[in-house]
């Protein structure tokens, strides 16, 4: 096997090196690839952590340099009753939106996976298209719908005859509702895989034991899905805990503060920015998320145990709902309206108005395309769209090959591979805004000018998305049986030849979807870039946020429409490839 002259690696590197690769694998030392990758990971991940902790313990000069050591920021946290108040707010908000999202997601996943409801197959497309809508835009759309001058309040005023707005969306329930609907597609995607991986014969065995549909649902379906649902609920709770868009746009306006907005305010609303305070807040939030993630891991491992017992005769089964399927189809249409239909409609409406005054008959005669002209004209709007495309492309292109290599080394148990896996997954513990604070400190303290550049946003974004790339690649590579690679080795190919000719082609579809997925989530982020962007590195999500703060609703809407159109193309591409290669969505 070593003598075959055509083997790619014997041309590519000298014999001793080839020997070194093999030796490295058999455990005498670390493969150079592992050492290089570990080095890169350490350079990317260690500085933000150090700077984050340092920030929380030092006062800063006006120029942003560290000054004196202090515990002051922490003692202020603990002694300030506002902090506990906000902590309670955060918890209520996160529990509420997780429960709401899970309720919507469970119903939707069950209908799509386990019944014969019409249109069910389109719900995946709906969920994936919703990935392309920036969360900021989505939140703004709901504020336009449910706000004081929105159509919902108009209708309620007409019904009740009240003078004032009947509903105040700038409240805790408003936050929960908007965030809950926003997370519903994610809950649906994750839960549909829970329902799919549960063997239908568990339910059939119950039916054959003499149980009816409702008994079967209570004793079997619900009980088997419960650990999975609980784990996902915790995951969404964590996501909501760290979320920024809804708290910033809805909560701040209604005087409801949560931890993430506290961090944002101590940097953006105070002059000079209170970096130390933001650092202390961030450290607390970070530690809390670590605890939650630990629970999540334990729960999801428990959930997997329930799913590994399926046997060979597995077959998916759809329940015939009879006439009830029109009701469930109605529910799916309603969900479509909530997730895409209504938000997009209101944004489209606003984008065609010269000035925004809600959905009124009077504004029907004032349709104009001026806002779109403004967006596509050379200038800050167009720059920000270009910047965002560069950000998404650069992030995904850097993360995918890097994590694929890390994942391969980890999956094939190279010495030190587990370390790469752990390190690349670690940024998951950083809430986005905390990572923003950490990288802000790194860039401010660089000897060369990095702060405010697009490159700095890309670097932070790469670290932020790395865990997703890692999980995605790891899962994809796990499915490639070792024997496929061993067959290549026996045929005379070396390590590199095998990787290039066997591994890469086999994982290519998964890598392409990974790229598109990372692109989509990198460009919709707000909370991290909002702390990092400068005047010349504006990106779409942050621009939308600023436009809303300035009250420029119509320009915002036009820009949002243009951006959604672009992202729909990307997400449809993602959907097509996933379908074509029958990849799992998560």
């Amino acid at each position: 096997m070593t003598t075959k002259p055509e083997a790619i690696d014997s041309l590519w590197m000298p014999k001793e090196t080839a020997g070194f690769w093999r030796r490295a694998r058999s455990g005498f030392g670390y493969s150079p690839a592992v050492i290089i990758l570990a080095g890169v990971l350490l350079i990317l991940i260690v500085p933000p952590i150090i700077f984050l902790f340092q920030t929380s313990f030092y006062t800063t000069t006006f120029a942003g340099e560290f000054d004196k050591f202090t515990f002051g920021f922490y003692t202020e946290l603990v002694t300030n009753p506002r902090f506990f108040n906000n902590f309670v707010n955060t918890t209520v908000y996160a529990v509420g939106s997780a429960a709401f999202a899970i309720a919507l997601g469970t119903a939707q996943a069950w209908i799509v996976e386990r019944t014969n409801t019409p249109f069910r197959q389109y719900m995946f497309l709906v969920a994936i298209i919703s990935l392309g809508i920036p969360h900021v835009l989505y939140t703004i759309a709901w504020l336009l719908i449910m706000g004081k001058a929105g159509p919902v309040n108009d209708i309620l005023r007409a019904i009740t005859g009240a003078e004032e707005a009947v509903l105040n969306v700038y409240s805790m329930w408003g936050m929960i509702l908007i965030e809950g609907v926003g997370f519903a597609p994610l809950a649906f995607l994750l839960l549909s895989s829970v329902f799919r991986s549960t063997d239908a014969s568990f339910e059939e065995a119950s039916m054959m034991s003499g149980a009816g549909i409702s008994q079967t649902f209570r004793h079997i379906t619900a009980r088997l899905a419960m650990p999975g649902i609980m784990a996902l609920m915790l995951l969404i709770f964590i996501r909501a805990f760290e979320s920024f868009e809804v708290p910033a746009l809805v909560g701040l306006a209604g005087g409801i503060n949560v931890l993430t907005t506290d961090i944002y305010e101590s940097i953006h609303m105070e002059m000079p920015p209170n970096y130390g305070q933001s650092g202390a807040f961030s450290v607390v939030l970070l530690l809390w998320v670590v605890v939650l993630l630990y629970w999540y891991n334990r729960l999801s491992r428990h959930a997997e145990r329930f799913q590994t017992i399926t046997g060979k005769g597995y077959r998916p089964r759809q329940m015939d709902l009879g006439k009830w399927r029109y009701l469930t189809a109605g529910l799916l249409v309603l969900l479509f309206l909530l997730i895409i239909g209504l938000p997009v409609s209101i944004v489209l409406w606003a984008s065609l108005q010269p000035y925004y005054e809600g959905v009124t008959a009077g504004s029907l005669g004032r349709f104009t395309l001026d806002n779109y002209v403004e967006v596509f004209k050379a200038g800050s709007f167009r720059d920000s769209i270009l910047n965002t495309l560069i950000l998404g492309t650069a992030t995904a292109t850097a993360v995918v090959p890097f994590t694929a290599l890390c994942a391969w080394l980890a999956v094939r148990r190279y010495k030190g591979g587990w370390f790469l896996d752990q390190m690349a997954t670690m940024p998951l513990i950083f809430p986005a805004i905390v990572m923003g604070v950490a990288f802000l400190q790194v860039f401010l303290n660089m000897p060369f000018a990095l702060y405010g550049t697009l490159l700095s946003v890309v670097i932070a974004s790469v670290v932020r998305e790395m865990p997703y790339g890692m999980r995605y690649s790891y899962a994809g590579l796990l499915q490639i049986h070792t024997e496929l690679e061993e067959a290549s080795a026996v045929s005379g190919a070396g390590e590199v030849g095998t990787f290039l000719r066997i591994v890469i082609p086999l994982v290519a579809p998964a890598m392409i979807t990974c790229w598109l997925f990372l692109f989509l989530i990198a460009v919709r982020a707000v909370s991290m870039p909002i702390l990092l962007v400068g005047p010349n590195s504006q990106i779409v999500a942050v621009t939308l946020f600023d436009l809303w703060e300035n009250g420029q609703v119509t320009e915002l809407a036009a820009m949002g429409m243009a951006w959604m159109a672009l992202m729909t193309v990307v997400s449809c591409l993602f959907y097509i490839i996933v379908r074509r290669y029958r990849l799992s969505l998560h």
Partner: protein
């Protein structure tokens, strides 16, 4: 006990192309009988079973259990699963991981709608049945800690706890390793006989079907090819498909000059010369006959040896041994006849015959079966 009449169900794939299914299946199963549906994957055996269970809704036909229709497309009757009084063992066993052994087996009694069982009754019944299947000492064990064989026993116990009229077994042994499979095969048969429960068994393994069934229906492409006892199916196949599916066989093409009546012997002119053959069914004169001879039915003797002299002159064919395969309890010879046809012969070892020896073969007429070629 159970009657199936003209059952039909066709699957259509997502893009609208018609897929597999069953296209008119009819059979009866008597009280206490173990009836097997045997066939290759995709032949419709599982669809038939699931239609009886009520897990699939057929398009037309009739299923009646103990004189009562549980499905009838003409009268639009479809009794829901929980009222059918049928127990079933799934291929994957479907042992619920969130319940222990006892809870799994007790479930059918707990959810029963026909009767409320007291805790004591449930306990007694379940313990009795778990002991019967050999799980008496594992009653409180979490079901996730059972081996494959134990899961299989538990699945059987669960199917039997409410004493169903009919037991359905969907490839119950296919998830076990070879040794355990043989052991469980014997045990299944013993339990079925002890319990006396009417059983329909689905499998693709012909030796399993031959070993445990009272009667077998061989299925192919959604239709029943032949129904009979294991012996009938093996020795008197009525079609080439059945002959090939049930064990190794020799197939010789030939012509029939005069009409043959069912059960009688008749002469078929084949490429090996004239052969006296048994006709399981009446066949009119045709040039399209397949003659089937099982390898172990062929009598073989070395040319010039003592045994060769005793060989009957009827259906006697000369050949040369091209290859021999030693299989332990039997030995298999590949014999090439003068015109080049290869005949497989199986015989107990001990004959003084080896590679390249000239041999004589005899096909006993009662085991030489003639069919119309399809």
């Amino acid at each position: 006990m159970i009657e199936i009449e003209d059952l039909k169900k066709q699957y259509v794939s997502d893009d609208g192309t018609p897929g597999g299914g069953i296209f008119g299946i009819s059979f009866d199963v008597a009280e206490g009988e173990l009836f097997t549906l045997l066939g290759p994957s995709g032949c419709g055996k599982t669809t038939t079973l699931r239609s009886i269970a009520g897990l699939e809704l057929p398009e037309r036909g009739r299923i009646s259990l103990a004189g009562k229709d549980i499905y009838n497309s003409a009268t639009r009757v479809s009794v829901p699963m929980y009222e059918r009084d049928i127990g079933m063992v799934f291929q994957s066993y479907a042992i619920w991981p969130h319940m222990n052994v006892f809870e799994n087996a007790a479930y059918p009694l707990k959810v029963s709608r026909t009767r409320n069982f007291s805790r004591k009754e449930i306990h007694e019944k379940v313990v009795e049945i778990l002991e019967m299947v050999g799980l008496g000492e594992f009653i409180r064990r979490p079901s996730t800690q059972l081996s494959g064989g134990q899961q299989q026993r538990l699945a059987l116990a669960r199917a039997l706890t409410r004493e169903p009229r009919l037991l359905l077994l969907d490839e119950p042994l296919s998830n076990l390793d070879a040794q355990l499979r043989e052991q469980m095969r014997v045990e299944l048969k013993r339990l079925q006989q002890e319990w006396g429960v009417t059983t329909i068994y689905v499998t693709h393994d012909q030796s399993e079907a031959l070993a445990i069934s009272d009667r077998i229906a061989v299925m192919n492409e959604g239709l029943i090819a032949q129904i009979g006892t294991p012996k009938e199916i093996y020795n008197r196949p009525t079609s080439e498909f059945v002959a090939h599916f049930i064990g190794k066989t020799n197939l010789i093409h030939g012509d029939l000059a005069a009409d043959a009546t069912a059960g009688a012997l008749a002469k078929v002119t084949t490429e090996l010369g004239p052969l006296q053959c048994t006709f399981p069914a009446a066949v009119p004169a045709t040039g399209n006959i397949a003659v089937v001879v099982r390898p172990e039915s062929v009598v073989i003797a070395k040319q010039g040896g003592a045994e060769a002299g005793e060989l009957s002159a009827v259906n006697r064919i000369a050949g040369v041994v091209r290859n021999e395969i030693y299989l332990g309890e039997i030995i298999e010879y590949m014999v090439a006849t003068d015109n080049g046809t290869e005949i497989v012969v199986r015989t107990p070892p001990g004959k003084d015959i080896g590679k390249d020896d000239k041999v004589l073969m005899h096909f006993p007429p009662k085991n030489t079966v003639a069919l119309i070629e399809k």
